[in-house]
């Protein structure tokens, strides 16, 4: 076979190969002709290139032709239509676990207060009467103890029904204001019905510094309510009484069902009281409590609040849980919904 014939045969073979090539063979084709041990290089090695420069020129022309054609083929194959897959077939999911609703709520609450510069704390669930009541200005035999529904381990040791024991503990821990903490923890009360579980969770805020006033309590609450619920909500304070705050308030947030109007489609709103929902108690820290925590009430003032995690969770209107005790069900058919 003459030199030119050899080159032509290689070209012919290539054209044939190229016509039947499919996408994933393209690379092999490249190697077959253009690779180190490829047919083009074989031509260079076997033909007398040195003696006849014309042959080298022909091989080079063939080489660039092959390169161009492979490139064109590549583009052609890429733009070709692939066989469609059924995208509606369910995917292969990794095993799905679940974070409990209460964990999710605590996480969200924590992150909101962290944005406001609060430090998260954890204080004892089992505590002495001093931190739980006496030090919070609730003397023994005080009628206010009636409302607490407290579990006792002994006369002096309680299973806390509120997170406010964290107030004195934080004052002792920090020593000197400023204080800006959120204590989220388990709490317990001797009660079990549709809106009470014997175990529940509270988040307790405490801010103490010079110049802390009532508008700051409103500011923090307003921020929380707008972040946790939605931007259209507003808050209001109503007078109340707690032994460990003075003045004391009850906080309401506007109802989302009736937009705070108290009336829905000409009917009284069933969810709220005249457009407002009760969030929980709050107040300016009582000077006796500051004193008990080693802080001079003439120099410092502060506010505190303690609200139920379950309560704010249940107030999220799309949750639709009929009964607070559902939150504590261990039925996986319930737990796996969240």
């Amino acid at each position: 076979m003459g030199h030119t014939a050899q080159i032509d045969k290689t070209k012919k073979d290539f054209d044939q190969d190229l016509s039947s090539v499919v996408q994933d063979q393209l690379n092999a084709l490249k190697v077959k002709y253009l690779g180190r041990q490829g047919l083009i290089n074989t031509l260079f090695k076997t033909l007398p290139v040195k003696d006849t420069p014309e042959i080298g020129k022909q091989i080079n022309e063939l080489k660039s032709l092959i390169e161009t054609k492979i490139q064109e083929k590549e583009v052609e194959l890429l733009s070709a239509v692939s066989t469609p897959i059924d995208v509606t077939v369910p995917g292969h999911q990794p095993p799905l676990g679940n974070l409990h609703l209460i964990t999710q709520a605590i996480e969200e609450i924590e992150s909101i207060f962290t944005r406001l510069g609060f430090v998260r704390r954890r204080y004892p669930e089992v505590d002495t009467d001093w931190y739980y009541a006496e030090g919070l200005n609730i003397p023994k035999d005080h009628p206010a103890r009636d409302d607490q529904e407290t579990f006792y381990f002994s006369e002096n040791i309680v299973l806390t029904a509120h997170t406010s024991n964290g107030q004195l503990r934080e004052m002792e821990y920090v020593g000197q204001p400023p204080i800006k903490m959120i204590n989220i923890g388990k709490t317990y009360r001797r009660q079990s019905d549709a809106s009470h579980n014997p175990m529940f969770h509270q988040f307790e805020g405490l801010v103490v510094d010079k110049h802390i006033n009532i508008t700051h309590l409103l500011g923090v609450t307003d921020y929380f309510v707008k972040s946790y619920f939605d931007l259209n909500r507003s808050v209001r304070l109503r007078p109340h009484h707690f032994q460990f705050t003075e003045p004391s308030f009850e906080l309401d947030i506007s109802c989302d069902i009736c937009d705070g109007k108290g009336v829905l489609d000409g009917q009284k709103c069933k969810v709220c009281k005249q457009g407002w929902l009760e969030l929980g108690g709050a107040g300016m820290v009582h000077p006796t409590v500051l004193k008990n925590g080693g802080i001079d009430p003439l120099q410092y003032s502060g506010f505190a609040f303690g609200w139920g995690v379950e309560r704010v969770l249940m107030m999220k209107s799309d949750l639709k849980l009929p009964d607070l005790r559902y939150l504590y069900s261990d039925d996986l058919r319930y737990l796996k919904q969240f």
Binding site: H100, D141, I214, L218
Partner: protein, 660 residues
């Protein structure tokens, strides 16, 4: 305490044209909360929450007094009328003494007023009176008894009446009860007293009154009563509270007396009652007024610094408003210096107002909390380290849910039965003295019993496998300490197998970036874990947790048909193994060589891996593949950082490995 009052009874004292609904709304904003409001015929009934320290608002007049202050600030026309403190008082000094009263100790009754009435005609009350009582939740009885209940609701001062002719010797002696004494009350109940209760006896030493709570049967007013002894008094609040609690007689009177009603109200109400008795029962006074009041309340003044008031409120309140508010609430204010207002506390707020903060509350609530703007405080907190415990708890929960586990929340209180069934020692557990039920009596020392209960509850409802976890405190009694240690604990349960749960933990440890943690055979017998199928989880020489199957008797006790694999981890110990950060390992530019090697050995696989790793520094990874009897296969990765590996070098190392 919750009270029911009618709209018309409040309007006897508060003249205003605003509607009941508006009144309720305005009052709730600034004063007592009107929880519910409903129409009853021509009238409207409010359910009002009189908070513990505001017994003065537990009556129609008290509500009206608050209403007057509130509406004034809102510029809504109103007027307070029928003020009992303006009542003209006749002491009937021209009349003789008609009975004898002795009071053993003034601490039992700081004030005791009485007058006797004659020619009493007992009959049913007029319709308006019985309707009012019914609407307020009181039962009408007769015209005499109804007067006492009506006045309690109107003015907040409970009144008691005796049939004077049934009091032996017309002599009353007020004293502390003795242990074991028995009194029969108006509700026909026979009560054995524990002693220290405030009681009244007559000259036969017959108990005729359980003071502040309920009258005694022996001197009850009935349809034949002709002479009445009318009493208004105040009693030792702690004693009343104690007696009413242990006898479970939470009468309206007891709820008022335990909260210290106004001592200055006794005489005006006695006088108003006397007038009503003449009007409705045709009675007339037959004795001079008896008034035991040895220690008059000294005046109480509190200085309010108005600059400080604005500072605590966060807004500036006009002085005129401050003065108006205080005056409407009965505080007489007089300037003592430019910014200091000396406020005299009215008798009906005597025990509740004690510090300047109390005055701030009075001024700002009536001014209107709703008018205050929300402002975020700027606080210069000191920097501090992040809380590793809280951070790790959250990360752990997130990772485990990412690995397909479902988080459960169980009650920290468990039953003694569950503790015993799971072979824990009941003595290690803190026990409630006033548990609601036996189901929630002990604070748990382990999360495992709860998880086993969760498994049991779900079998048959959910398809297996069940993979659950809980991360919560357990409560460990501390010898010599008052409080238990509240220890963060992680527990996992799978219905799958040991390696699955072990793999989960290994993945968790990797994600948490812990130091090397090893799974070693259980060293000692355990009441919980089945020794042959369990492991202790070790960091260096510390046990940080356990994993494995439970002893058969526990599964039997709980009647569990599935054999779960469980793990418990002490979280603070786990956290102590977490590395402070990541450190970078350089990646070799040279390709690794990978060999599959099978070793025949009786040694445990963990030790084999460890052995292979230590043979040569070129061995960078040992991956376990599988075992057949005592033949164990591994995938061993050889990497060099200094050049291309040649097969000869690798083969030499391989030989060493096979010589195990």
């Amino acid at each position: 305490m919750d009270i029911k009052l009618t709209d018309s009874s409040i309007r006897r004292f508060l003249q205003t044209t605003i509607s009941p609904a508006q009144l309720a709304e305005k009052m709730s904003l600034c004063g007592p909360t009107f929880d519910r409001i409903h129409k009853e015929g021509e009238d409207v009934v409010y359910e009002i929450e009189a908070i513990t320290n505001r017994v003065d608002t537990a009556c129609a007049f008290g509500i009206a007094r608050e209403g007057n202050a509130v509406l004034n600030q809102m510029a809504i026309p109103c007027e307070l009328i029928g003020n009992p403190y303006e009542q003209k008082i006749d002491l009937y000094s021209h009349l003789p003494e008609n009975f004898r009263i002795t009071i053993e100790n003034q601490s039992l009754s700081p004030r005791f007023c009485a007058v006797s009435l004659k020619n009493v005609k007992i009959a049913p009350s007029e319709k308006a009176v019985s309707q009012f009582l019914n609407l307020c939740g009181e039962r009408p009885i007769n015209n005499a008894v109804d007067i006492t209940n009506e006045l309690t609701l109107l003015y907040g001062q409970p009144i008691h009446i005796f049939d004077l002719d049934k009091i032996e010797g017309k002599t009353l002696h007020l004293r502390e009860s003795r242990k074991g004494e028995i009194i029969t009350l108006l509700d026909n109940s026979k009560n054995k007293l524990v002693g220290g209760d405030v009681v009244i006896e007559d000259s036969r030493e017959c108990l005729i009154d359980l003071c502040g709570i309920m009258g005694g049967k022996p001197a009850q007013v009935d349809e034949n009563t002709k002479n009445i002894l009318l009493i208004t008094a105040t009693y030792n609040p702690q004693k009343v509270r104690r007696t009413s609690l242990y006898l479970q007689k939470r009468t309206l009177a007891a709820q008022i007396f335990e909260k210290r009603p106004d001592i200055e109200l006794c005489l005006p109400i006695l006088s108003i009652a006397t007038e009503l008795f003449s009007k409705r029962c045709m009675a007339s006074p037959s004795s001079r007024v008896f008034d035991f009041y040895p220690d008059k309340l000294p005046p109480k003044t509190i200085d309010l610094d108005l600059v400080w008031l604005d500072k605590l409120a966060g807004v500036q309140i006009e002085r005129e408003s401050v003065l108006d508010i205080l005056s409407d609430l009965g505080f007489n204010g007089a300037f003592n210096g430019e910014n200091i207002l000396s406020c005299t506390v009215p008798s009906w707020r005597y025990h509740d107002i004690t510090i300047r903060e109390d005055l701030v509350e009075e001024v700002v609530r009536i001014y209107g909390y709703y008018k205050l703007p929300p402002i975020l405080p700027c606080v210069n907190l000191k920097a501090e380290e992040s809380n590793k415990l809280l951070l790790t708890e959250l990360k752990t929960k997130r990772h485990l849910s990412g690995f397909g586990y479902t988080e459960v929340f169980n009650n920290s209180l468990v039953s003694g039965d569950l503790i015993e069934k799971t072979m824990l020692n009941i003595k290690d557990h803190l026990k409630l003295t006033n548990a609601l039920s036996q189901d929630f009596e002990y604070l748990r020392t382990s999360l495992l019993p709860s998880l086993l209960t969760n498994l049991k509850n779900n079998i048959g409802k959910t398809d297996l496998p069940i993979n659950i976890f809980e991360l919560s405190n357990v409560y460990i009694k501390q010898a010599g300490a008052v409080l238990p240690e509240e220890q963060s604990s992680l527990s996992l349960l799978t219905s799958y197998d040991f390696l699955y749960l072990k793999g989960t933990l290994e993945a968790l440890f990797t994600k948490l970036n812990t130091d090397l943690i090893a799974f070693m055979p259980l060293k000692a017998q355990s009441t919980l874990f089945l020794k042959e199928k369990s492991s202790q989880i070790m960091h260096q020489d510390k046990i940080i947790g356990f994993i494995g199957e439970l002893n058969k008797n526990i599964l039997h006790n709980l009647d569990l048909k599935v054999t779960p694999v469980v793990a418990v981890i002490n979280l603070p110990l786990l956290i102590s193994t977490i590395r402070p950060g990541y450190s970078y390992t350089p990646i070799s530019p040279y390709p690794p060589l990978i060999e599959e090697i099978t070793i025949e050995s009786e040694t445990q696989v963990g030790s084999l891996i460890q052995f292979i790793k230590e043979i040569d520094p070129l061995i960078t990874q040992v991956q376990y593949l599988n075992s057949f009897r005592n033949k164990h296969s591994f995938r061993v990765v050889f990497t060099s950082h200094s050049g291309n590996l040649d097969q000869k070098t690798v083969d030499k190392i391989k030989e060493k490995i096979l010589k195990v």
